[in-house]
């Protein structure tokens, strides 16, 4: 399959601040590509440029062969966008919202009505179609938000952190929807700061931090960057000084990295078993009570920690 999206040195500046610093990547037709990075990394700005909302400061991208800078209207016909924040008219019903947005995508008449029915079924809201969106739960609103992006059957769908702030059940439903759409042949660009989502969904992942693409490849290719290292997660008390503990753990033989986040200390090491006793001793010496310990196989979290020295949730 060929590339549906080709990004070349795309950059966006706001005055002196560089939100996106010349990122380049491609997405093949039919794949799910995740853009993984912490909040403020530049994921939404990148999607905003690719969806023609923002004009790039430099660089360009082509989608379906159309340049986002030179032929934005043609690009808009190829893509669908599911924004991070809900973008719906809450005083309209679910059906009225879908009808309106379908009209904005040049659908009309019977084809519009039948497509709206299909989408309502796809997002599981057929029986709530005539209810106003403002009466919906957060998860239901998210589903309508996704439904709007699907109406015109886009070749490439941008989904910008679609699971932020929703309950686990709705999150599961959305992730399943993403997989279903991909099975039906849709290409997806999915941004998230949840490592688990990127791992579950993606064929390939681009890791973005401070506006730069710091790693790009399949999950296997990325985890190979950190070798066979494991990650040890210590969960400590709310009043414990996790940062001081992390600093003291760096001196233990076998510990490659140690970083503190909220009530957690992440330790990257070759073998967790080799350092576990020493880690617990250090914590005891400092009067820190360890509540639980997780041992994780090499994953994207470890890759991010390895590349940036920070945890993904920082």
């Amino acid at each position: 399959m060929g590339n549906i999206l080709e990004v070349q040195n795309l950059a966006k500046n706001y005055g002196d601040f560089q939100a996106v610093k010349g990122v380049s990547f491609n997405i093949e037709e039919g794949e799910i590509f995740s853009l993984l990075g912490p909040n403020g990394a530049g994921k939404t700005t990148t999607i905003s440029m690719l969806s023609t909302l923002y004009t790039p400061t430099s660089g360009d991208a082509t989608i379906g062969g159309y340049s986002v800078t030179k032929n934005p209207m043609a690009v808009r016909g190829v893509i669908g966008v599911v924004p991070q924040d809900l973008a719906l008219y809450e005083d309209l019903t679910a059906r009225e919202n879908l009808i309106f947005w379908g009209q904005m995508y040049n659908l009309s008449g019977k084809s519009l009505n039948s497509r709206v029915d299909e989408v309502l079924e796809q997002i599981g809201l057929t029986d709530k179609a005539r209810n106003r969106v403002k009466t919906f739960s957060g998860g239901m609103k998210r589903r309508v938000n996704i439904g709007v992006g699907l109406l015109h059957k886009p070749r490439l769908l941008f989904m910008d952190e679609p699971t932020v702030g929703i309950d686990p059940q709705s999150r599961r439903s959305i992730l399943d929807t993403v997989k279903d759409l991909n099975k039906q042949g849709m290409t997806l660009l999915y941004t998230t700061h949840y490592m688990e989502e990127a791992q579950e969904l993606s064929n390939r992942v681009g890791i973005i931090d401070h506006g730069e693409m710091i790693a790009l490849g399949t999950q296997k290719e990325l985890t190979q960057q950190v070798g066979q290292a494991e990650t040890l997660i210590l969960h400590v008390g709310e009043n414990d000084d996790s940062e001081a503990l992390a600093a003291s753990l760096k001196g233990i033989q076998g510990v490659q990295q140690a970083e503190a986040t909220d009530h957690e200390v992440s330790i990257v090491c070759a073998e967790a078993e080799d350092v576990l006793a020493a880690v617990v001793t250090k914590a005891n010496d400092r009067g820190i009570k360890i509540r639980s310990i997780d041992i994780r196989e090499p994953n994207l979290e470890a890759v991010f920690l390895h590349l940036t020295g920070r945890a993904l949730r920082d």
């Binding site: 023609t52 924040d85 309209l92 904005m104 995508y105």
Partner: protein
């Protein structure tokens, strides 16, 4: 074009589903109209409508039957509360009084006015010199549009009745001659007789122009206090509606629907056009609902329907221009709401929604010209006094010009800011 229409319809639907907006768009002006109607005695038979003692100068240079009849109209008992007439024999001095804002208008009845209407002995002879039509001049004070409008309406009504009599008389004589009922030599005598008939009837007919009273045949010219209050309130709250609509542009930006529109195959012009169309439609719907409701519940006569519709559309266009410019300048929806509410009240007061402009200082009367309220209210007053679309050219042109200028300015500002901060 279709998308512009669809966006506009969507906005109207949203506006009419917003209960808080509905209260301010429809309930508030309706309740205030009722309240002010009660204060002015509209619902209790009190005839004080707030318009009184309009100073007018009569210069009667004709000093014959019809000139005297018109002068008598202004000094009649029926209009005693409404008008404060003064007589003058010097047209220039009278005009100067208007320039000095001492009266609302001067009515100059030129010499030969009666002669130009009623044929005299010898006018029908073959060697008679044709009598030139003589026009009555109403020299109006532009800073007192309502008072001047009332005076002009009185003169127009008088002239239309005189003209009606003159034309029907001439037609009758021609028909009688063609049918052989009278000979050409009898035409002069018949013409004079009919002229005397006009003269005899004119003073009483002129009294069909009455303020605060009802006559069987004077409905169109009766001035109902509500005919001023209802449009005044509707126009004031029209300003709320247009700023509500303008605010929706910024609200859509904040809630993400505007960026979503901008990544659909819909261009900025279609979106902005749709938003403007939505504001316009909502404002027009609000005005027409209020007009319909006041007609239904208060039996209020708004006047010439065509004139009302055209005036409403022009007023909504001007108000939409204000809504757009406020939105283009403001940065957040709450700024639009705050500024919009302030503008609504300032325009309401300065535009004559609460107090007749004639009772305000000259500088406020001048300032009122930038408000849609003043121009539209002037037009509605003219219609309430029996005027038609033909009498509304000045307010309609002013309102349309205001709308176009403000719309172009707001488009330029939106162009600079861009619809989405990029």
């Amino acid at each position: 074009m279709l998308k512009t229409f669809l966006i506009g319809i969507k906005d109207v639907r949203l506006a009419f589903r917003d209960r808080a907006a509905l209260i301010l768009m429809l309930a508030a002006p309706f309740v205030l109209t009722v309240g002010l109607g009660l204060v002015t005695g509209r619902f209790s038979g009190n005839t004080n409508n707030g318009l009184s003692d309009i100073p007018v100068i009569i210069v009667n240079l004709d000093k014959e039957q019809l000139g005297d009849a018109l002068a008598d109209v202004f000094t009649s008992a029926d209009l005693a509360d409404l008008l404060e007439p003064a007589a003058s024999s010097d047209p220039e001095a009278a005009r100067k009084s208007i320039d000095e804002d001492k009266a609302a208008a001067v009515v100059i009845i030129p010499a030969g006015f009666t002669r130009s209407i009623i044929p005299q002995q010898g006018d029908f002879s073959s060697n008679a010199v044709a009598v030139e039509p003589v026009k009555i001049e109403v020299y109006a004070n532009p800073t007192r549009p309502t008072g001047a409008g009332i005076i002009k309406a009185i003169v127009d009504e008088f002239l239309s009745r005189v003209e009606e009599g003159r034309i029907s008389g001439a037609t009758s004589i021609v028909q009688m001659m063609m049918s052989g009922r009278i000979s050409p030599s009898q035409a002069e005598a018949e013409g004079i007789a009919m002229g005397e008939q006009i003269q005899a009837n004119s003073p009483s007919n002129a009294l069909a122009i009455k303020i605060n009273s009802s006559t069987a045949n004077g409905e169109a010219t009766n001035f109902d206090a509500l005919a001023y209050i209802a449009p005044a309130m509707a126009l004031m709250f029209l300003m709320y509606t247009v700023t509500y609509g303008g605010r929706s542009i910024l609200a859509e930006r904040a809630q993400g629907t505007l960026p979503r529109l901008l990544v659909s195959p819909t261009n900025s012009a279609q979106i902005l056009g749709g938003k403007v169309f939505g504001i316009f439609l909502t404002g027009a719907a609000q005005m027409l609902i209020l007009i319909g409701a006041s007609s239904l519940f208060f039996q209020l006569k708004w006047g010439d329907p065509l004139g009302v519709i055209v005036l409403v559309l022009a007023a909504v266009m001007a108000a939409t221009g204000w809504g757009m410019i406020i939105t283009a300048i403001a940065r957040t929806p709450s700024q639009v709401a705050s500024v919009g509410t302030a503008i609504m009240l300032i325009f309401g007061i300065m535009g004559g929604s609460f107090i007749s402009l004639e009772q305000m200082p000259v500088f406020i009367q001048m300032f009122s010209k930038i408000t849609p309220n003043a121009w539209a209210l002037d037009g509605f007053t003219t219609l309430g006094l029996g005027g038609t679309l033909n009498d509304l050219s000045t307010p309609i042109i002013a309102l349309l010009s205001m709308g176009i200028v403000l719309f172009l300015a707001s488009v330029a500002l939106f162009g600079k800011k861009n619809l989405v901060q990029k």
